[in-house]
Amino acid sequence: MNLIPLLLVIPLAWALLSLLLPRLPIGLLALAGIVLQLGTAAMLWNNVQVHGASSYAIGDWVAPLGITLVADGLTVTLLAMTALIAVVCAFYAIFYLRAYEKERRYFWPLFWFLLAALNGIWLAGDLFNLYVGLELLTLSAVGMVTLSGERHALAAGLRYLYAALLGSLAYLLGVALLYGAYGTLDLGQLSSLLDANLMTQLALALMTFGLLMKTAVFPLHSWLPPAHGGALAPVSAILSALVVKSSFYILARLWMDAGDALMPVSAAQLLGTLGALAIIWGGWQAFRQSEIKMLVAYSTVAQLGYLMLLFPLAIGQSQQSAVLAWQGTMLHLLSHGFAKAAMFLAVGTLVLAVGKKRVVDMAGISAKMPLALFAFGLASISIMGLPPSGGFNAKWLLMQSAIQSGQWHWVAVLLVGSLITASYVFRVFSVSFQKDADPQIRSTHPALDLSALLLAAIAIALGFAAAIPVELLTLPEDML
């Protein structure tokens, strides 16, 4: 029984279970489902490590007629990350949602549909299948953002939905052009067929615009902060750690698998500049935010800028710096996932305990909530890219790639980015150490701090055990 379809069936089945049988203990049901999924992801991870990449034709129809699912090193690492973050967020949500009775009923079905869409996207090898996966992801994410039903959540949900729909249409237009030109939708086949003509260039440009819109890269990022900042803590953790990365994953696959020879160097540098602007603008906005969740949301906008540095460092550069850039970007994607999820969970616990949202209301909490603050600290070490953390190793790889390809301006961007990140992170810390303020806090369940700590510890552990995922993240074959 092949493992790949299991990763799709489990979340969809559990979505139905939690939708149709609300009287069951939803939390425990969810946990059982996710542990099963984590087990499957782990088994798939190790058999890809042993036997190498494998593909799976659905319905026994071989591409281009049917849809194939591809599980190579990168896919499997991302599947394992998704399962791990989902387990911890589910465990956190069971205790966190006790304070939110109304949202509990519909949180779990949407959570499972979102997970199914994510797994579908990581595994998909077909362009139109990716489109439907993105739509399922968007609708369930918008559903989770608007769960609370208050006015600001609805406005954030609407803004997110409109931006995502516009992005999806641009992506679909690109797919339409590619199908019109080459007659196939399978990414593997396309990567050998693509050649530089106006239709292909325009198609890839449109798809890039659509995916940039969905990844909230700098000029198109205005929908992300209200959506991630306003949502419930486990929701914003999953959105920032996983959902935003899926469209970047498609972009990276598209350019690195199929179009690496097609992207002109000037376009790659433009994407890099957008990334740099995102780092600086996002960081500056985060520094100026008064609400702590908005601060973390703008930090996501900034950190996504680092991912965009993949293109200038890989396209048109030497083979060695391209491999380093690819590994550095994917390691950053991983460690940012864990660290940002830990940060949102920790901040969620603090907001739940203090009852107020602003950074200044957090005065003196280091005495009252040491574990949550410690988790926030560990996570911010990885976000800032200070050793020993996964974030630092990723920054190191990107820096090596920039130095080897002689592009020192990206080294400067990396450094300025970590300085700005340090400025807004330590703003939270200096507030929390004030001695005379003693905030009244509600007691929160220790499980909340434990889950944030676990995720933060994984981000730090990535600093020491980065060798394991990095080997698996070898560049797609045709680039080597």
């Binding site: 590994q327 003196g364 200070l386 050793p387 090596q400 130095i403 150490f433 980065a466």
Partner: protein
């Protein structure tokens, strides 16, 4: 066993930190005893390693972090010099801190981060390559920040912000230096006499730039003049923090980094050939003079001691940049001596503040009668700083001068002379006030009455011991296990092989 020992030394304080973090606030006894136990175990392990390394054994922990980068902990002669100093002084400072923080809130948090700091100092001392060194160097920054802002007052938070601004900026410079070195050379291992001996000349400008970046990054923590701003500001921290961290651990980590870069990365011959040693000596000398002049102008005891640290650390860097075994020995031994003496001085400053509430120098009149032992310890420390025999300071200044003569840099001798005079200028008036000035009729805000001891025994005991150590290091300098002989052992290995 050779693989696990360095990791074990690191683990003792890491485990202690994590355990103490989870301890509830009121468990004072358990926390105190656990702290002391960890300190004693660490000293025992480091002692064992010192003996083993003396007869040519090596300890190394190595595992691959990522691709071509390894995480290496190696205990060689140089690393044990710094590790020995830190672990010894950590024991005394822990005793002192337990006495000093009696009855104050947040002690679990304090001692947790305190052990984390020493764990990173151990990591800095035993790092086997620049990458591991950077990991623990940045961990030191992160774990000292909560100690600087421990009091939580607005002034402490401002000091914390300046501290972060300097140290994270330094960290960034260091990161760029190490990254470009790694890109240029392919690895950043510490090798006995340096890695870069046979590098082609057209790389010299790049290597000089990297050298400047590395020294700038390390210079922030070694408080070289333009980058020293955080040290006087950080004096707002509690006394044990200023004593162990800002006089020993953090500042020495910077100096130790400079030693590693010059001796084990660039190699002292190559750096001399590259022509970077003389400008470094110039910068160090300027810092010595400038630091001493600033110390003269300070009216607060701890601020004066802080500026004195700024200038004293540059003695070490001066010694290192003197091309020759004697100069190196002078620098290395001063690393140890200055540590012991400065800790004593900061302990005394802490006692004056805690017992009689004195923080300004002009209130010190006649304190000698009221607190003879503390004043005696302060005097020994001050004499050491000035370089008066038989205290340890004299030995290191003697070797520095001798090394300068060997290296043919006669102006360095002048610098030593002028700085010693300046040291005398800012320490002797304090000593005069202590012993010969007429005491005020009564001490306005005296917290600890003069019982059987002049102050809280927990504070007095470590101060007296460290004073005795600084005296002993001077008198028994020629003995087998003295700091001087250990420095000689290192210098011999650095130059001959």
């Amino acid at each position: 066993m050779n693989f696990w020992l360095p990791l074990l030394v690191l683990a003792t304080s890491l485990v202690a930190a994590l355990f103490i973090f989870t301890l509830p606030e009121e468990r004072h006894a358990l926390r105190g005893s656990f702290n002391l136990l960890a300190a004693v175990v660490k000293i025992a392990l480091v002692g064992w390693m010192i003996i083993a390394v003396a007869n040519q054994q090596t300890f190394e922990t190595r595992f691959t972090l990522m691709g071509d980068i390894d995480f290496v902990l190696r205990a060689d002669a140089l690393s044990l010099l710094f590790a020995g100093l830190s672990s010894l002084l950590w024991l005394f400072t822990t005793i002192y801190a337990m006495g000093y923080l009696e009855g104050t809130p947040q002690r679990s948090r304090f001692f947790g981060f305190f052990s984390l700091c020493v764990a990173s100092t151990m990591g800095v001392s035993m790092a086997g390559n620049l990458f591991t060194f950077l990991i623990f160097f940045e961990m030191l920054t992160l774990s000292t920040y909560p100690l600087v802002v421990h009091k939580g007052s607005a002034e402490a938070l401002r000091a914390g912000r300046t501290y972060l601004f300097y140290t994270i900026g330094g960290g960034v410079a260091l990161l760029v230096g190490i990254a470009s070195l790694h890109a240029l050379v392919g690895h950043t291992e510490f090798v006995e006499t340096g890695v870069l001996r046979d590098v082609s000349p057209d790389l010299y400008p790049a290597l000089t730039a990297i050298f400047v970046l590395l020294i700038a990054g390390l210079g922030v923590k070694a408080a070289i003049v333009p980058l020293h701003g955080w040290l006087p500001a950080a004096m707002v921290a509690p006394a044990p923090v200023s004593a162990l961290l800002h006089a020993v651990a953090v500042v020495k980590a910077g100096a130790f980094g400079v030693v590693r870069v010059i001796y084990n990365v660039f190699g002292v011959e190559f750096s001399y050939q590259l022509g970077v040693l003389v400008p470094l000596a110039a910068v160090a000398s300027f810092t010595i003079i400038w630091g001493s002049i600033q110390a003269l102008r300070q009216s607060d005891i701890k601020k004066r001691l802080a500026f004195s640290t700024v200038s004293q650390v540059s003695y070490i860097i001066l010694g290192l940049s003197l091309f020759g075994p004697i100069g190196t020995m002078g620098g290395l031994v001063h690393l140890l001596h200055q540590g012991i003496m400065k800790v004593t001085l900061f302990f005394c400053a802490g006692i004056f503040a805690e017992t009689l509430g004195i923080t300004r120098i002009r209130d010190l009149n006649g304190v000698g009668k009221r607190m003879p032992l503390t004043s005696a310890a302060f005097t020994i420390g001050a004499f050491g700083m000035i370089g008066i025999p038989p205290v340890a300071g004299f030995i290191s200044k003697w070797y520095l001068g001798w090394g300068a003569m060997e290296a043919g840099l006669h102006w360095v001798l002048g610098v030593l002379l002028v700085s010693s005079l300046l040291n005398a200028a800012y320490f002797l008036p304090v000593i005069y006030r202590l012993w010969f000035a007429r005491p005020a009729p009564e001490w306005p805000d005296e917290q600890i009455p003069a019982g059987r001891f002049e102050t809280n025994p927990w504070l007095l005991l470590p101060t007296v011991i460290t004073a005795a150590f600084s005296l002993g290091a001077g008198v028994f300098a020629a003995a087998a296990w003295s700091p001087l002989s250990w420095a000689e052992l290192i210098a011999v290995r650095e130059y001959l092989s």
